[in-house]
Every structure is written in C-alpha cells, then in structure tokens.
C-alpha cells in the first residue's frame, strides 16, 4: 500500500483490466485434481493460480499437541519461488506464516473439529502464480478441498477482497492496484450465517469508506460462494454419472 498518487489505475470509469468498480475477476474452480491427497482443489482467479490439498483427519504428532476435545486444523500457505516475477526465496517468511494462521482460523470456524479428537487436518495451499488476492483465492479453494475430502463442515468459506484505488472503493484488487492503491481489505465469510471469519486491512480508510468496502467485499464473497457451490455440484454430477464409487475414492 504505497498510496502512490502518480500511478493511473482508473481511466474513463474503468480499471486497468477493463473491470468496473464492483466487478470481480474471472474465476475458474475445479475439485479432485490430486490423487494422493484426501481432497483437493484448483483455482484460477484472474492471474492467480493456486492448488490446495487436504490430508486427514490423521494422527497428530508430537502427541502433546493433541487436543482430546477436538481436531487441530493446520494450514500452510506457500508461495512457489516462481509464482512472482522476482524469485521468492523458498520456505516460510513472516507474511506466509501470518496468512497460514488466519486461514487456519477461518477454516476452523466451519469444520466440525469436535468430531475428530486428538487428530489433525492439514490444509496445504500452494500458490503457483500470484497476482494479489492470493489469501482469498487460497482460502476459497481450501474450503472446496475440505468439502472434496468429505470432511464434515457447517458451510463453505468464501473469500474476496475490497480496497481503495485513487480514492475509489473497489472490489477484488489485482496486482497493480494492490501495489499502488491506498488500501486492501481481504475478507472471508460463512455465507449461510452471513458471518465474517477472516478480516484484515491495511492502508487508509475513513469510517464511511470502511462501510462501503465492507459491503463490496461481502458482495464479492457471495458471488464466489455461488461459484463454489456450482463447482461442487458439477463434481458430484460427474461422480454419479461415471458410476459413483468405482471411480471415486
């Protein structure tokens, strides 16, 4: 968030990629893309490309970490070294540790962890190409992967960001807007209860601008939710159409 005023991000009421202020980028989702993982999902969100795998519930080691009242949900968000223009040094940095933490917390609110005491559910978010909004895209795909794994959940988690560019509040920032905009507000919701499970913000927003950014992000999340449901429905239709259990595992 440099808030650089010299960079033009809005021209003739349109954004750099021709989107309107309330328009989310193109999103494509798919589930069951990996063989070994219990559940998996792939998402293309604008130029973002992310693959998510879920393992578990499985035994948690070391044992002292086990919780006899519920399962632990762990999340690892990882940027591939080639996912950004300037190579990212492999391994966790402070940013990815923080994203992993808030993503795990968001998913923990919907997964029925109390059904699997002493175990761990591992969610691995691998970002193959990053173009702003990776935590939202990753989280969206992660909840699909959990559903794909057949892990009992109260609802999906749908995520989308809002932000401010050249003084205008818009939904779903792309890379240039993230770099030169004045604010980024990633959000994730549990759509059926209309509750917020991830909310971060950095930059500059007045109290009124926060209200409109919140509304735009929420609206974006609801659009993402519809796509998620359609993706899961299509995968089920395919599963049943191909003769059910013989092909699925």
């Amino acid at each position: 968030m440099s808030g650089d005023d010299d960079v033009i991000l809005i021209k003739d009421g349109k954004r750099l990629d021709g989107r309107g202020f309330e328009e989310v980028r193109n999103i494509k989702m798919e589930v069951s893309v990996l063989d070994r993982a219990q559940g998996s999902a792939y998402i293309e969100w604008g130029k973002n490309r992310i693959i998510v795998g879920v393992y578990g519930p499985r035994e948690l080691h070391p044992k002292f970490l086990q919780d006899p009242t519920k399962a632990m949900l762990r999340c690892v968000y990882n940027l591939a070294p080639f996912s950004v223009e300037e190579r990212k040094k492999p391994g966790p940095d402070r940013r990815s540790v923080e994203i992993s933490k808030v993503a795990a917390e968001a998913l923990s609110s919907v997964v029925m962890l109390e059904r699997f005491p002493n175990t761990v559910i591992d969610v691995f978010i691998e970002v193959l190409q990053a173009d702003a909004g990776t935590r939202c895209a990753g989280l969206t795909a992660a909840s699909l992967a959990l559903a794909d794994a057949g892990i009992p959940m109260k609802d999906l988690v749908a995520a989308c960001s809002a932000g401010k560019i050249q003084g205008q509040v818009v939904v779903d920032l792309m890379k240039e807007e993230d770099n030169f905009g004045q604010c980024d507000l990633p959000m994730a919701i549990v759509p059926r209860k209309k509750e917020v499970v991830l909310l971060q913000m950095d930059g500059k927003l007045t109290r009124e601008e926060f209200n409109s950014a919140y509304a735009l992000a929420f609206d974006g999340c609801m659009k993402v939710y519809e796509l998620q449901k359609n993706t899961l429905l299509a995968s089920m239709k395919k599963f049943v159409g191909e003769g059910g259990e013989e092909n699925g595992d």
Binding site: S2, D67, R95, V97, E98, K101, G203, R207, Y214
Partner: protein, 259 residues
C-alpha cells in the same frame, strides 16, 4: 491444550452472559495503562515499558544506516519484530518466532506503517543511504491483549526516540541530532467476542474463552485491522468494534501523548 483456561472457560462465558467480568470491569473498559518512557536506559535510541493491567511489554527502538528499498530510494525503512519471551508465560518457549509472535509484530507494524506515523522522507541520509528504524517488542509478562500493549509500547517508544548523529559516514551512538520525526499516533484496540457480547482489552482467561477477536488500529481513520480466533463476527459486531476502537483509541492516544 491449556487445562486452566479450559476449566475456566464456562465460568467466564456464563459471567459475561450475565453482563459481568471476572475483574469487575465494564465491557468497554481497559485495564490501567502506565507508561515508563526510556525504560531500558540510554543505550537504546528510544524505549518504553507499557503496563496494561498486569501485561508488560517493552518496546525498544534501534537505528542503523542502510540501503533503502529500490522502489523507494528516498524513504527510510522500518522493521518490527516481536519476541514472546519464555519469561512471559509458561506457554512460551525459546526459539525462532512462531505464528503468534509474528502476528503481534505484523499487526503493530501495519498500524504504524500504513498511518505514516514515521515520516520516512525525513530519514533520508544521502544517495543509497537511509535510516533504518528497528522496533523490537519484548513481551515480558503475558496477562492478555498483547497486540494492544505492544502497539502502545511501540508508538510510545518511537515518540521518545532520538536520532543518533551521523558524521563522515559513521553513526555516533550516544550523541543525538534530534528527535525521530513522528507525524501521528496510531493506536490498536482489540475487541473480543464471548457468546453474544463484545469486550475490549481481554485478559488471558477471556482470550481463552473468546470465540474471536478483532483488532482495529486507528488514527483519525482506520489504518489496520486483524481478525483472529476460530469464531465468526456478525456485521453489526464488526461495526461496533470499529466504533469502539475509534473511541478508546482517542482516549489511549491522550495517555500516550500526555495531553
């Protein structure tokens, strides 16, 4: 798991349901805030020990000269780290920063960075050389609400930070050329949700019992937010947490600036 917090959880939740807190505070009431400026002595360029109730956090500011970021060649650099020292809680262990300490550091960092509290333009020294401000947050006693305590400590330490002299390519520590240029005072305020109630400035038992927390760092606008915990917030809860953060932030700012 923490057995003590687990056993107290029902008690805390029921108490909050009755509109009460274990220590008798109102839901929007902070524990007492006491600042001890320049606590660590004269070696650090700036420091402050904050007592937030029984929580104790010391922030130290060190200054060095180094290269600017390539995309901002004329701006000074800031960096924030937090250490949850094992002295502060039986739960903390020695070793590299974990997700909890990284979160504290990054949320405090965002509030200061995004509000533009440090006038980084004035930290320019010469071509390819700028001042680098390191803010180190040392958690000494964890009795809840580390983010707010650390955020208050960080900005307080910055406000009493002196710039060392820089002559002939060398930093002369112990001699000063003036004060650190600070433009505004961002204050993080944390609200937790327990059942259907919103409480500010949670202690450790309340943090264990909470469904979720929301930290909002404000100046005259919102500069940073962070939701934590496994639970969820309703829209109206978020809006009241933001409003409460503006109100309490203003009161705490007065304590920090001494107005």
């Amino acid at each position: 798991m923490e057995i003590e917090g687990y056993l107290k959880k029902d008690y805390i939740t029921n108490l909050v349901g009755e509109g009460k807190r274990a220590d008798g505070r109102r839901f929007d009431e902070y524990r007492s805030i006491v600042l001890e400026n320049n606590y660590s002595g004269e070696k650090a360029c700036g420091s402050c020990l904050v007592h937030l109730g029984k929580t104790k956090v010391i922030a130290g500011v060190s200054l060095d000269i180094g290269e600017p970021y390539s995309d901002k060649p004329n701006d000074g650099v800031m960096s924030t780290s937090a250490e949850l020292r094992p002295i502060a809680s039986p739960r903390f262990e020695s070793g590299p920063p974990n997700d909890e300490s990284i979160e504290v550091a990054r949320v405090v960092d965002r509030g200061i960075r995004e509000s533009g509290a440090i006038d980084t333009k004035k930290l320019f020294v010469e071509d390819d050389l700028v001042w680098i401000a390191f803010i180190d947050l040392h958690i000494l006693d964890h009795c809840g609400n580390l983010i707010d305590a650390a955020g208050i400590a960080a900005i307080s330490a910055l406000l009493n930070t002196r710039m060392p002299k820089y002559e002939d390519g060398k930093i002369i520590y112990g001699e000063y050329s003036g004060k650190m240029p600070i433009k505004c005072v961002p204050i993080p305020c944390t609200t937790v949700k327990i059942g259907n109630s919103l409480l500010m400035d949670p202690d450790t038992d309340e943090e264990y019992a909470m469904d979720a927390r929301l930290t909002v760092a404000t100046t005259d606008i919102v500069n940073a937010m962070q939701k934590g915990g496994n639970g969820a917030f309703k829209e109206e809860e978020i809006m009241s947490a933001v409003d409460m953060a503006f109100e309490k932030g203003g009161q705490i700012r007065k304590i920090v600036t001494g107005d």
